[in-house]
């Protein structure tokens, strides 16, 4: 289940945030600390997650303290379902 979520998130981040559709993001790759996702994109990411997975995510919930990798993000989504 989580791998399905990370797959969707990886595609979204590669195509919409990085604009490098071929890029594959590994489940444990640091996203924020490596500069792949910046604070402006965090709001986009939370809007995308709400719409795609039909879960409630508040704006301020997504930050360095709550997640840095796709696996951690998928866990947050999973726990809200």
């Amino acid at each position: 289940m989580n791998s399905e979520i990370t797959q969707i998130l990886s595609t979204y981040i590669a195509s919409q945030i990085l604009r490098q559709p071929q890029r594959v993001i590994l489940p444990d790759e640091p996203l924020l600390s490596n500069g792949l996702v910046d604070s402006f994109s965090l709001v986009d990411l939370s809007l995308f997650i709400e719409k795609t997975f039909n879960v409630y995510i508040d704006n301020t919930e997504l930050n360095r303290e709550t997640f840095d990798t796709l696996t951690q993000l998928a866990d947050i989504i999973q726990s809200r379902k």
């Binding site: 990085l18 604009r19 490098q20 071929q22 890029r23 594959v24 924020l32 600390s33 490596n34 500069g35 792949l36 996702v37 910046d38 604070s39 402006f40 994109s41 965090l42 709001v43 986009d44 809007l47 709400e50 704006n59 301020t60 997504l62 930050n63 360095r64």
Partner: protein, 570 residues
């Protein structure tokens, strides 16, 4: 009024219990600060600086989060007669090594006598202080408490400053920007506040709401000093909270009946697109009379998008105003939209780009909708100059030059730069624009500066960072910005020449190769950690792709055009 110290103490004498500001804090109740609190809080810093032997006229660098401590440390330094300079603090994304390098460069040029920072950051600051440094003391803000008792003589050092003395330093962003601290006198700042208050029709029923950082002129002057010295309440939230929850700005306006705000262009798009419907419950923007678009190229579409989204919540179309500003003029050069709607000028794209004249389009040429930045404020004059520094006719494109009674004193400790910037007493802004019916229109930059979200980015800083990546040919990197209408700001592009050429990847699609990913990732990481800027596009090319100038330097604008042309061709 002689100096800031006099202005501040006057507010304290006349309105001690009046609210100077309300800090909107993350997940905590708002914190209200009266003029009395402000003086007592600041006096703690004045005393600490005095005890540390800091003299009038010495530079004090403030590296503090957006907080009560920053407010008090700033005015406490002023009351001691010292010269505060607010610097961005280290964020989670920046690399500590890179940040330390910038600090060391800054310390060398501005020769500060003291640094004030928060406890977690003391170690970082100490590491940046080299033997023989000008820094005599590093103060920990957690050890400084408000002073319950003080006398007027506590502020003697501040009261003895003269109007011509330097009040503060402002730095533009980036490593390169650190080398240019704009030094502003008390008199220049007062002159700006007087002219700008008139341009805004500022009055005692105004309430300023701001999320802007205080190390930037727009945040420091419009969103901090102007309201506090004018007895106009200020509602202040942190840029870090705003970017994660942009609706908080609108809640601030609703709760405190805010009337004035300043936003860089991208913020109009950001608010219009990224705020959830559920976060708009109870929002009422009817009191907002001027939301001034300032500090990066302004798009008519951004205003339209903002209005469409928030008109149902009481936003008036007359609230959409414009401003042209720069730290070298303290802040505003011109203001539009206060007493009449912002002038919209529809001109031919071809006319602007090819003929360099803002004229109507003919025979179905593509149009550009320009927003006027309004009339110059009082005592600021604008000229538009050609490359020989001669005036060009109305509606002809040229470099914007300004002269005013609120110009910078100098670039601090950089007499070389100070001389270059002026031509016969006129400051050459590096912005391109035109005048029409005494209103100024800014069309772009003469220099290669990139502006992202209102923040100035020097391409050479980013190129340097990308050049350090293994696999990139040293010095063969170019960084530039391209406008993005959807976000309302510029996207940053980096193109780097690779040491290996495409043929080395025989049988593999170059762009899908692991080496391509490794190098692009590393460029993104280094640039973000070194500059706090996220790159939008990173492209790797063969040796020889980048166009060079006759002197062998990478030509930024020529490469930008080539990139855009290839993008268009698909």
């Amino acid at each position: 009024m002689k100096t800031f110290v006099h202005a501040l103490l006057k507010q304290y004498d006349v309105n001690p219990q009046s609210k100077a500001l309300h800090l909107l804090l993350d997940q905590k109740p708002d914190k209200s600060i009266t003029y009395s609190d402000l003086i007592h809080g600041s006096a703690g810093y004045t005393a600490a600086l005095k005890n540390a032997g800091i003299q009038a006229g010495e530079v004090v660098i403030l590296i503090l989060q957006h907080s009560e401590a920053l407010v008090y440390a700033f005015f406490g330094s002023i009351l001691q007669g010292a010269i505060p300079a607010i610097m961005p603090f280290l964020t989670e994304k920046l690399s500590p090594e890179q940040y330390r390098r910038s600090l060391m460069a800054l310390f060398e040029i501005t020769a500060p006598a003291a640094i004030i920072t928060y406890p977690e950051f003391l170690g970082e600051v100490h590491q940046a202080i080299k033997p023989g440094s000008s820094v005599r003391v590093v103060l920990d803000c957690s050890q400084i408490n408000p002073q319950s008792e003080f006398t007027n003589s506590s502020f003697d050092n501040g009261l003895n400053r003269s109007p011509q003395d330097i009040a503060l330093l402002q730095h533009s962003s980036g490593t390169t920007g650190l080398q240019k601290g704009v030094a502003l006198s008390h008199q220049a700042i007062f002159n700006q506040l007087e002219s700008y208050s008139r341009a805004l029709s500022l009055n005692l029923s105004d309430v300023v709401v701001s999320w802007l950082p205080l190390y930037h002129d727009m945040g420091l002057i419009a969103g901090f000093i102007l309201p506090i010295l004018s007895n106009v309440p200020l509602i202040l939230l942190s840029p870090f909270d705003w970017v994660r929850a942009p609706h908080k700005l609108l809640h601030g306006v609703t709760k405190y009946r805010g009337t004035l705000s300043w936003l860089p262009n991208f913020a109009y798009n950001f608010c219009a697109q990224k705020i959830r419907q559920r976060d708009l419950e109870g929002i009422d923007l009817f009191t907002w009379r001027a939301v001034s678009n300032c500090s990066e190229p302004m798009y008519w579409k951004s205003h339209q998008m903002f209005l469409d989204r928030f008109q149902p919540y009481g936003l008036q179309s007359s609230a959409l105003t414009t401003c042209y500003a720069m730290a070298e003029n303290v802040f505003a050069v011109s203001q539009g939209g206060i007493n009449e709607p912002v002038t919209i000028d529809s001109i031919s794209q071809r006319g602007l780009l090819v003929d360099r004249i803002a004229r109507p389009s003919i025979n179905g040429e593509d149009q550009i909708t320009m927003l006027s930045a309004g009339h110059p404020i009082d005592d600021t004059r604008i000229r538009i100059l050609d490359q020989y520094h001669n005036d060009v006719p109305e509606r002809h494109l040229g470099e914007v030059a300004i002269s005013s009674n609120c110009m910078l004193t100098s670039y601090y400790n950089r007499p070389d730069l100070s001389t270059i910037a002026f031509q016969d007493g006129w400051y050459l802004t590096g912005d391109m624009g035109y005048l029409a019916k005494d209103e100024v229109y800014v069309t772009g930059r003469k220099k290669d500066l990139i502006i992202v979200g209102g923040k100035n980015i020097y391409p050479q800083d980013l190129e340097y960072l990308a050049s350090e990546v293994q696999g990139v040919h040293p010095g063969r990197v170019v960084a530039f910005g391209i406008p993005n209408e959807a976000t309302g700001t510029e996207d940053v592009v980096i193109i780097a020449e690779m040491d290996l050429i495409k043929n080395d990847f025989d049988g593999l699609d170059f762009e899908s190769s692991p080496e391509y990913s490794r190098v692009t990732d590393e460029i993104r990481m280094r640039v973000t950690r070194g500059s706090d800027i996220a790159l939008r596009y990173v492209r790797l090319v063969n040796r020889g792709w980048l166009l060079k100038t006759s002197s062998g330097k990478v030509a930024r604008s020529a490469n930008r055009e080539r990139y855009l042309a290839e993008l268009k061709a698909g």
